[in-house]
């Protein structure tokens, strides 16, 4: 086993970015290859970590721990580790990013800059999923902000500047709240226990220790949890903090949309589970009812908005909002299957959304329109692309045999069997949420009917079908979606121990 493999994993893309910087602008193919190789090697390393991950073990693995900045009264440490929660997201990140880099061949302008930002973004995302120190976590979380701002703002659509600024300010304010919550948590923890620490695990112990209950009141914990919830809700995104997402998605270039939906949203969910549920499980259980209701609102509201969209990309963006509701629902249930469903949904939606955005991007590139009404009959001119689009939509609907089905099934089962102490009207909520599945089927099938079938638009009579390089993201993503769909244990055995840990914290 390679020593310090997590550090290698996180900073390899940064090294790649530095190498890209030294290449002259005009060698576009060299730049593309270096970016591709770097992200591929990162992917390989993440798979090495994945295969060496000890399934039965609870707690952090591959841990690294160094003191970084000592301020006297507290030190910011360089602490990394992975458990069953971060492991799948780590691999998700490297896969989606590698495929996004492949999908970036369509970027012709300012290629060098583009790939530098891509690789920095990858470092930031990986860092978020492995950091165990709050300061480090925050640092990586913020680090993803800048590359995305540039990628949307430079390579995006017509309204790119507006979308980039909206993204920056919304998620920036979310991060600000997060920082405030983090340090309030640190401070009260240090006051209560006498040991100043920013480590997630150590804080979880302090906050879970009944001996400190006198110093850490329930009201304080509740305030903390709500602050954290809102902070991560912006990124996730949860109604009503979601309005930046459709703008960002629609304006972002294809590859960025893939990453945005595939990985960045997951950082919000990961933060909520790692910090909110991980450190304050009792508060998470207290607010489970609220979270579940917000989850249902997200599912239904997102689906309803998707139903009325005329722009295919916007439709997919709203469907992301809807699907993130399922994560909330599963997590709020505090059952093993619900929590599994939530994590499954994170991974599954990561692949499905990436595939959907890729397909929309590929079709837009050929037809120069994303308006659904102008896209009729695509299966006649570009059958392969239309076929993959249909497959992606089916996965999103939750067709059995695909990853979406497993996730939704687990999450809904979780909420259905949730303890009435945690969620009083769990069954009602489950039934309402299930309406979302019908809506999802409605908007996606209707959209497919209007785009892939129906009357062919005259100007689209002669379009080029899938190019060889486009098969890479399409086949890989669909393959993974089906793999998880038919063999869920491949994911399940990695996350189970951690899921049981989280759920057992409230005796569920």
């Amino acid at each position: 086993m390679i020593p310090n493999i997590l550090t290698l994993l996180v900073f390899l893309p940064l090294l790649g970015a530095l190498i890209v910087l030294t290449i002259p602008n005009e060698h576009k193919n060299v730049i593309r290859s270096i970016a591709g190789i770097t992200s591929f090697v990162t992917l390989i390393i993440s798979i090495i970590v994945w295969s060496n991950f000890n399934r039965g073990l609870s707690g952090m693995q591959f841990a690294e721990n160094y003191t970084w900045i000592d301020l006297g009264f507290v030190s910011f440490n360089y602490e990394l580790g992975v458990d069953g929660l971060s492991m799948p997201l780590l691999v998700l990140t490297t896969i989606v990013t590698f495929l996004a880099v492949v999908a970036s061949v369509t970027i012709k302008d300012r290629v060098k800059e583009y790939f530098v930002w891509m690789l920095i973004l990858l470092t930031g995302m990986l860092g978020v999923f492995v950091a165990l120190d709050m300061f480090l976590f925050f640092l990586f979380f913020e680090l993803t902000l800048i590359p995305m701002f540039f990628i949307i703002g430079i390579w995006g659509g017509k309204e790119r500047e507006y979308a980039a600024f909206k993204f920056l300010i919304y998620t920036g304010l979310g991060s600000a709240l997060m920082l405030i919550a983090f340090f309030a948590m640190f401070y009260q923890g240090a006051m209560a226990s006498g040991q100043p620490t920013l480590n997630f695990l150590a804080l979880a112990e302090i906050y879970g220790n009944p001996a400190y209950a006198g110093m850490i009141s329930n009201a304080f914990k509740a305030g903390l949890f709500l602050t954290l919830f809102i902070a991560f809700a912006v990124k996730l995104p949860i109604f009503p903090f979601h309005t930046w997402l459709p703008d960002a998605h629609v304006q972002a270039p294809t590859a960025a949309s893939m990453i945005l939906a595939g990985v960045l949203l997951k950082m919000g969910a990961y933060g909520l589970l790692r910090v909110g549920f991980g450190i304050l499980p009792d508060q998470a259980a207290n607010f489970a009812y609220l979270i579940a209701i917000l989850g249902v609102v997200n599912i239904i509201y997102g689906a309803l908005l998707a139903l009325v969209q005329k722009d295919l990309k916007k439709l997919v963006a709203y469907s992301s909002i809807s699907h993130m509701g399922i994560v909330l629902l599963g997590a709020a249930s505090f059952t093993t299957s619900g929590m599994q469903g939530a994590i499954f949904q994170l991974v599954s939606h990561g692949f499905i959304a990436a595939l959907l955005f890729f397909m929309v991007g590929a079709i837009y590139e050929r037809t120069h329109t994303r308006m659904i009404e102008e896209l009729g009959g695509l299966s006649k001119t570009i059958p392969i692309l239309a076929g993959f689009l249909l497959a992606a939509a089916m996965a999103s609907v939750g067709l059995p045999g695909m990853s979406g089905f497993v996730s939704e099934f687990l999450a809904f089962m979780g909420i259905f069997w949730a303890s009435p102490d945690v969620i009083p009207a769990a069954k009602t909520i489950a039934v309402i949420a299930a309406l979302g599945i019908i809506l999802t089927a409605a908007y996606l099938l209707w959209a497919m009917q209007r785009t892939t079938f129906g009357q062919l638009h005259q100007s689209h009579a002669h379009l080029e079908d899938a190019r060889p390089i486009e098969y890479v993201p399409m086949v890989c993503l669909l393959g993974l979606i089906i793999l998880i769909g038919v063999y869920p244990a491949i994911l399940g055995d990695v996350i189970n121990t951690t899921v049981i840990d989280i759920v057992s914290k409230i005796g569920g």
Binding site: T67, W68, I69, D70, L71, G72, F73, V74, E113, F135, F138, L139, F140, E142, L143, L145, I146, F149, F150, G153, I154, R160, E161, A164, F165, L168, I169, G172, L173, S175, A176, L179, I180, F183, A184, F186, Y187
Partner: protein, 484 residues
Amino acid sequence: MTAFNADWSLMTPEIVLAVLALTVFTIDFTTGIRGKKPFIGTLSVISLLVTIVLVVIFNQTPGTIGSTFVVDPFAMLFKIVILLGVALVIVNSMSYLDKHDDMYQGEFYSLLLFAALGAMLMVSSADLITLFIGLEILSISSYCLAGFRKHQAKSTEAALKYVILGGTASAFILYGMSFMYGLTGSTSLLEIGAAMPTLYAQYPFLIMMSLFFMVAGLGFKISIVPFHMWAPDVYEGAPTPITGFLTAVSKVAGFAIMIRILAVGFGGIYDQWYFVIAVIAALTMIVGNTVALVQTNIKRLMAYSGIAQAGYLLVPLAALLNIHISLSMIVYYAFAYVFMTLGAFAIISYVTEKENDEEISSFAGLYRRSPFLAHSMTVFLVSMAGLPITAGFVGKVYIFLGVMTSQMVWLAVIMIVTSTISFFYYFGIIKQMYMRAPKEEDSMLKAPTSISLIVTISLIGTFGLALFANMLTNYMNGLNWIIL
């Protein structure tokens, strides 16, 4: 008199700098007043570097001369920041001066050297008189420098405004000091500090008056709200490198002295004033950051950004729970601030000169014209906005943490929220550089060596302070900050 048998070697850096400044002055006289004199600039930079070395050598061990001049880690670190800052300003000025024949170069450099000398005296003074002398040496040099483009109406206006308001501010400070002297019969900060708690019990009103006048006067000098009105006009009118000097160096020096007065002189009645400072800090952050949003002139924008940054620096002063920790925060941020501000100003002065336009739109498409300058500017702006892997980020988190531990959560919240607001205008400049096309007639920019040098140094500083923050903080943790 104790001053005669005191250890005068402590003052070596100041004496040497004074001699060097006079030498530069004399050389300038003997070589004729007009014309390009790059060697004088180089000489001045060398003088400053020599002084930094001397500071490191002679100010290692703390000591005092009489009770008026004090050398302690606090003074030493601030002197290094100031000298480094002035050196960067001079390097930045070189290409600027070469383009403007109406500016007498030798005069310009020697004034900057005297300003540095004044600032050094200020941070080392433990006595109201020394303090005031240092302050005035710095101020008067600054007035002259602000009006250095004497054939330009804006520059003259700036100087006039600055001298009148600055003079008023000095008067305020003196008036405040006179109360102190009247009450204690001493000008020594230490004696004032020792007498403070009992004095306050007897004459609370007079003490608060004195404090108010001093804070108002010093507040003018460092442009904190509500004493900031002059700053945007003066900053806009002054020659751009001087604007950098005023926002960075002069402000840091002003801060140092404000800290010393408040901590040493008024430390005993901390409970009485910390809240006022906290409110001023909050106002400064709010006003600076929100008014900056609507600026279109880059120098005015930087003026408001500088006001906002002064607000961040005030925060640890209000949260002076543990003076050592507060001081390390302030010094850390001061280092970060000088690097990022002067780096940014080097680029601003170069670009606005080239374009002959001070609007933010003069940065349009800078990315295509000079990737190096655009990338560096991005780093500085990102650091000022307080985003990761930059010194500004670590500094801000450091301050933020300190405020949280002193339980002024509301102040911390204001700090974070206003920082987020600042994203908008800092990224507005970034937007111009990367997302807007350059103007038709714009050509590639080839930055002169001096600009590249200062930008590179500032970049190293901005990143280095973040990645190796440990070295500075470890060093500062072991310090006995203020000996008097």
